[in-house]
Symmetry: C2
Subunit: 647 residues, 2 copies
């Protein structure tokens, strides 16, 4: 079996790489920017949509305040980027938020941050793949209505690409991210120029009226209106998602890691903020309409849009309007946007396994997550992430709007915890730092992080208030569940490690058993049995006997006769089995031998046919499997499998 | 883990029984009749429906020939019963059709018969449970529309009951079968008396007109009409299903097994034929209408039946008409009919595991099917049957009409093969029998079987012609697949057995390895490792060393230091792992030792933590699992698991 699996893995994942190549997999800035920034940058492809869509619930006039909401989001974005530049410098080891929080706020808060981050990574993949599928759907009619399965396909492909290793993915993805920056940048610049020269037209959807939701038909007035603005702001904060990805990925940067990461983060903040601002302003200028459900919310001369009307994402609508003379350019922008969204999911695939490995190292997750696979990556973590994201996409039918409600809360939980941790970090550092210049730098950094804390904390409260019923509760529940599992795994490992730790008195644990009682389990008389007998004899035990369980009188008689005929110097004992069981009488016999000589070791030699394919398992060794499982619970018994290989 | 599973099994299935109780599980005739006859008898609850439903495709007048179709079915039924009485007498060992065919027509035909029977058993369960669910649905409004899940539930319950053992089921089911005979008998007798006295009314459905199918609106004329009559006859032959059940169940009868079984079979034939005839005649007399799709095929004054119209099975309609003064009696008849159908599925649960065990004994099926479970039953076979039947019910949405198309063809394949085998049997016996009286008896038996052969062969052709496109092809495909697997399994076992057979020269296979090279696999230094070292030392190997795979330099250094500190008389060797793998370097090292000393045995001691629950597996022993799997393919290596039990 392993050979086939191995061949399949090689074909899918490529050849294994040596540890020494680990450093070669480190990323220069020009590759790191697209790899780690694609998440944060790509969110400008869906964050404006969420702002427009939420405000649209109160009608067309409400949408006009979108620039103010956008401005608030940009301020938060720049603040958070500034804060995270401090994080990256202070903690360059890649534990990211988890490390910051654990070190400064203690392991309990660390578990909370770890759980939030794990959940976030899954949501990043789900949201990005879903949004990407919808952007592609806007350009490729065949995809319309098949977005869910397309999103699932995207995740599967990214999972495979990442199992192949980080370098290839970094290289392959850089081009696409730069293409997106170019495309979105062109839309922004050309749009601005055309707007200023008065040649910018109206979006196709500008002709639609928007039907306000019941209770909001008076526009943004009263408590309901205020809450809606807050909700739009909270939704827009989806633009911040992905900023933390770099702080978890610092070890993947080239030296000087921290500085390179901070520079990349700054670049990313500047680019992201400009793109976000341009898109929102241009969308306002061109009268773009974007709603949750076009059929019920849009009206053209009082009638709903035609049945074949397909709502295009905001950036796509802008591209069509700005490049109305060159439709191929608009299609190109939509496609590269779809592409960068797809690749944004890849950011999580860089961060999740690293975090999983760190958590596994600290004992919060199963140990196998700590092991690097043979492609220099943490294969198990990658597989877990892919599977969870596919599950989410299927559960939420690839709806970006619904997934975003879940996404933001997790992001801001870790933002807030991380900033709180950083404030504590600087406070502690300041306590011991004697150099005045350093102290001043630290104090400045603390102010930045404190502002970040205030900002992210406020947003978290806003998000919780406005989003709780819309899905945030699911994220909180998931974080609670993940955190619970982490605590439980950690306690479990701690308990087992205590149990298995070597006592102070090593003599006890080194006491040798007095004798070895060897038993060969015989079910039939064939070559594997003879080999097991020969090997058992070679180990020269104090007592050696062959034991069979009598299920059928005729078979037992024949077996005994043939055993006699072979003239082996090993007696064959037949155990009675009144219930026609194999395992119970045999295990009972082994127990009785242990009772007779508690200081003896019993070695049970089990002849086994080495099956090569999984289905052969169904035809062989089924009864011995049960015996082996039960013998594991008899103290002082060694189960020695003697495989017989077919030539 | 085993303890929990065990407790659950005990709770569901009861305590294990001793082999000696096997004879106590044999059935007296009064219990055997209901257990084995329920299948054949219960088919009168759906066979008439299929006749009426098929004829109704050509309109109301076509239905009037139903008595003639019924008569033909009764003739075939009685012939087949007479033939099978010969089978039972000649082959009382319970191999049934499979044994008859294998002995007389050779193993290839035996495989065909075995495959047909296995498929039939599954279909018996599916058809009976589905029909039963519909009878219950006719009395219990809540079940309407939930028949599929109810049928699945029925199968699950029967599976559990049968895992508990045959005796309890036999006893519990006898009452219900007798109740059905009483109920259906009452309908027949009271109906006949009322008909003769002129007090029998018309069925509720008699008021409906039947819309003939396109092409059949001229009634039963031409080729189409002729084919429809043949199709109705083929469908009616569903009444014969289950007759063969007794011939497979002969070993479950009390002595004299063969005579008791033959008597039971005769009784069953007489009862079944009378019930079938009465139901068809009374349904004609009361003008019962029964169609495949009431909404499109029934018309009342030109309009389709009301939306809440629910078509009741023929026997149910009869009971309502015959007992029009006592509706509770009609409900009782419907319920006991549903009950006997449910219990009919049980017949297959008696026959299938026996046949599976016989086939496994002959090497056609995986060996574990040959083993009796600890409740005197063949648990694996029962589970397989239940799962397959549930699958069919779900796939065909519990539609009796669609399942019957699949059912009949399999039944008549085994009928025909079996009768052909019997004719050969008597011909061979006659060749050697000297006593004239015996010869005369055998010749008579041969005539009976030859008539049976002619009859079943003809029906098989009719079934194939009329049912092929309606689903018979699925059964043929399934039989082909099952037969293919059987042949393949048999060849596989034969090849492996040849490979593993002990050669003529026993000296070679008894050659002792010269030395034992013991290796303790060390991943961490804890109690399980020390125990493994101690046990390895106790076996006094020629060479003993501890080996660890170096994944992390710091960890290796710490491990070496602690190993030194313990002052064990065993050297610890560190293997380099450039690809951060555990398995490959270790297995490579073991191979190199084998190459250095090809006549040595290598024993690899693997310390293991004995996990008690399945989820603990996820947290332990994952890496050693892979090593063990790969070592199974290195010749001359024993893998000795040294479990460490938590107290």
């Amino acid at each position: 079996m392993p050979d086939i699996l191995d061949a399949a893995r090689r074909a899918l994942l490529g050849r294994p790489e040596r540890s020494e190549r680990l450093h070669a997999a480190l990323l220069p800035k020009r590759v790191a920017l697209p790899v780690f920034a694609s998440d944060a940058l790509s969110s400008v492809a869906y964050a404006p949509d969420e702002i427009f869509l939420t405000l649209a619930l109160a009608g067309v006039t409400a949408v006009t305040i979108s620039p103010w909401v956008g401005l608030a989001v940009v301020v938060v974005l720049l603040t958070v980027v500034a804060s995270y530049r401090q994080n990256v410098r202070a903690y360059p080891s890649g534990g990211g938020d988890y490390e910051v929080v654990t070190t400064n706020l203690g392991p309990r808060a660390g578990v909370a941050a770890g759980a939030a981050l794990l959940v976030d990574y899954v949501l990043t993949v789900a949201v990005s793949a879903s949004a990407g599928a919808h952007y592609f759907g806007a350009s490729i009619p065949w995809l319309h209505g098949r977005e869910t399965w397309f999103a699932v396909g995207i995740i599967v492909v990214i999972t495979l690409v990442n199992l192949r290793g980080i370098r290839e993915s970094g290289r392959g993805f850089a081009l696409a991210t730069y293409a997106f920056m170019l495309g979105a940048g062109l839309v922004a610049v050309v749009g601005a120029v055309r707007h200023l020269t008065g040649t910018l037209g109206q979006a196709e959807s500008a002709a639609f009226e928007i039907v306000p939701q019941a209770g909001l038909d008076q526009g943004l007035v009263g408590l309901a209106g205020g809450l809606l603005v807050l909700r739009a702001f909270a939704s827009g904060c989806a633009a911040l998602t992905g900023v933390e990805a770099i702080s978890n990925g610092v070890p993947n940067f080239r030296e000087p890691k921290a500085r390179n990461a901070a520079t990349t983060l700054g670049l990313l903040g500047a680019i992201g903020a400009s793109l976000l601002a341009s898109i929102i302003l241009l969308a306002g200028a061109t009268g773009v309409r974007y709603v949750e459900d076009p059929a019920t919310q849009l009206r053209l001369d009082g009638a709903p849009p035609p049945a074949d009307y397909r709502q295009v994402p905001v950036l796509g609508q802008l591209a069509r309007t700005v490049f109305d003379g060159a439709p191929w350019l608009a299609v190109a922008v939509t496609v590269v946007t779809g592409l960068i969204l797809v690749l944004a999911a890849n950011t999580a695939f860089n961060g999740f396994p690293v975090l999983g490995s760190v958590l596994a190292r600290d004992g919060y997750l199963p140990r196998q997550l700590h092991t690097r696979g043979d492609r220099l990556v943490f294969s198990n973590g990658i597989l877990t992430l892919g599977a969870a994201a596919v599950g989410l996409v299927l559960a939420f039918d690839a709806s970006v709007t619904r997934l975003i409600q879940l996404y933001i809360v997790g992001v801001f939980v870790s933002f807030t915890l991380s900033q709180l941790g950083m404030v504590r970090h600087w406070t502690r550092e300041l306590r011991t730092e004697p150099v005045a210049r350093e102290r001043a730098r630290m104090a400045r950094a603390r102010v930045v992080n404190a502002i970040g804390l205030g900002m992210t904390g406020t947003v978290l409260v806003v998000v919780l208030v406005t989003k709780f019923a819309h899905g945030a509760w699911i994220t909180l529940l998931a974080m609670l569940a993940v955190g619970g599992v982490m605590v439980w795994v950690q306690r479990y490992y701690a308990r087992v490690n205590r149990l298995l730790a070597i006592d102070d008195d090593p003599a006890e644990s080194r006491a040798l058993p007095s004798r070895v009682h060897a038993i060969v389990l015989v079910s039939r008389l064939h070559k594997p049995t003879l080999r097991a007998v020969a090997y058992a004899r070679a180990s020269r035990p104090s007592v050696l006997e062959a034991v069979t369980v009598g299920l059928d009188d005729d078979e037992v008689r024949e077996l005994l006769e043939r055993w006699e005929a072979l003239d082996l110097p090993v007696p064959l004992k037949v155990l009675d089995s009144p219930y026609r069981e194999l395992a119970r009488p045999f295990v009972g016999y082994v127990r009785s031998i242990r009772r007779a000589g508690p200081r003896d070791v019993v070695v049970v030699y089990v002849p086994e046919y080495a099956v090569r394919r999984w289905w052969e398992r169904l035809l062989h060794n089924q009864s011995t499997l049960r015996i082996k499982m039960q013998l594991a619970f008899v103290p002082g018994v060694i189960v020695a499998a003697v495989p017989y290989q077919r030539d």
